[in-house]
Amino acid sequence: MLKKISINKISELAAALMDKGLLLAPVKEISGHNFAEIKDPKQVDLDFHNTIASPKSVFFPHKEDFIKYETGKPIDAASEVALNLPLTFLFGVRPCDVKSFSIMDIHFNASGITDPYWKQRREAAVIFGYAFDLEKSAHPEEFYQTLGIGAADPEGSDVFMVKKGGDLLLNSVTPKGEKLLGELKELNEGKAADKKYFDEYVKKGREHKTRSMCLEPEAVTRKLEDLFYNTDFWTRVSSVCISCGVCTFVCPTCYCFDICDDTLFGQGIRRRVWDACMFTDFTLEASGHNPRTHVYQRLRQKINHKYSYHVRKYGVISCVGCGRCTKYCPVNIDIYSIIEDAMKA
């Protein structure tokens, strides 16, 4: 089902979605755009390239409360924190970020024990993917083409959106998306020419140039396994790393977390919070032993996790080439260059 709406009237669409549930969409902040809960339909701003933070926090918030308790009270008195999620519209997600959700699904949902929080949050959401603007060049840090992701891939979205002049075309991808589009009276029917434009846009998106190299998952996995003990290589590529962990926090596929107890004035919460394999104490054991005391060991872990361990465990590279880790790294470490160097080493 293809629908359309004038971009000038996007706030009307936003208002209709807000009537149905929670709307999360790109909002302009001082230093760029980020996904935020929309309070006023006029806040939605589709004039953006990509958000600073990845939208993973919608399904994997930086803190997720598990249990509330009072310190000193019996354990039986503690209560599980219920999620009570509203229907959530995640509006304007770039294809590479949409792809990250399916990679995270394998880890959180499809492998071993299901993570109840990720699963419930995913089920509560309708995803409106949004093609990159093909008239504009990809940003220099991006390399999603290397990972086989097109600039206008609809897969993984419930509704996929493409800009056509002053209009926004919305095509349903899943039954959930189709049902929703059918209910939104603010939208106009798309014409045959719109459908043709949409299909061609998706196709052209596959050729949209980002930094690109030929990267076969099995080959890079084997290469990184061979390189594991090459301390010279890892020391060189990590020589400027300050272990700040920014790369992991902006990354759409980093999922490491800590479980901690926060107590204040007798009230306690057991929760999970984002953590990062780049931190010194990430693997520090109670005995004092720490397998990754050196920064090169931690950067090696991060790169290997994404490009080798994840392939061995789940069959896919855990990177979507969004380039955020490179863009926001304070010391300009570029994961793409590291993989390029590794393949040549």
């Binding site: 598990f66 249990i67 308790y69 310190t71 019996p74 354990i75 039986d76 503690a78 599980e80 880890h107 959180f108 492998s111 071993g112 024990i113 993570d115 109840p116 396994e225 594991f228 003990y229 980093c254 999922y255 490491c256 977390f257 800590d258 479980i259 901690c260 107890d261 107590t263 306690g268 057991r270 999970r272 953590d275 394999c277 990430f282 693997t283 520090l284 054991e285 109670a286 005995s287 004092g288 397998p291 990754r292 060991q297 872990q301 290997n304 996790h305 080798s308 361990y309 994840h310 061995r312 465990k313």
Partner: protein, 286 residues
Amino acid sequence: MINKNPYIPAPVEITKIIDEVDTHDIKTFRLVFSNKDDEANFKYLPGQFAELSIYGKGESPIGIASSPTEPGYVEFTVMRMGAVVPGTVTSALHDLDEGAKIGIRGPLGNSWPIEFLEKKNIVVVGGGFAFTTLRSLIHYMLHKDNRKRFGDITVIYGARNPGLLLYKDELAAWEKRDDIKSIITVDKGNEAWQGREGFVPAVCKEVAPSPKNSVALICGPPAMIKFTLPVFFELGFSKENILTSLEMRMKCGIGKCGRCNVGYKYVCSDGPVFSLGELDELPRDF
């Protein structure tokens, strides 16, 4: 798994605390489930672990020291940590008295591979504190319903001195049985010590268990492992027939939090039990 939500602990009561060693920093806690359903859902095998949970302090992954053949309770032998890194949970646990309630999540991880061990001769080698899940396995194998499923059982267990041996009463009882060969050794004895003196690797060499149809399960401090493995290789044990249990820092215990990986394996959910053959496939990152 006890709960539908794997992050929520179930309440248990500490019904018995045993002070195991002269230094008073290792205690065995006997835990009884407050809810019968939780107890029924906590189906475990020797080698598995659980997260012990104290609200306001946190959680610690601890190997299960009791055997599923002992219904009604689960036991954990816990060392009070804190000499190097604050052992918040273990210290809080050690400060509790019988009757206190804590939380438990589990059972977690794989187990000693019971089916693989069946019909084989079992050589258990333990050092110091790293004997807890091996004790679980020994209890399991010695149970009257299980003993005939396994061949000869040889236990070689050592500690630095007699006061540091765990489960002293049981060690004495095993020495009297004829269905288990038990060799207890200490690095250095004291005046009261009547038993054997000598390091575990040397004792293994002396005892020289036959590799024929045998599996060795070896847990202990790194130095003990380092010098014990060559002895077993020399005896002719293959890497597939030497098993150990790994430790890594853990949080979730269910393979989600990304903390305890060694290469592409998570120690919490793919392990903690690995054969040396399996470990050879993984990077030395632990």
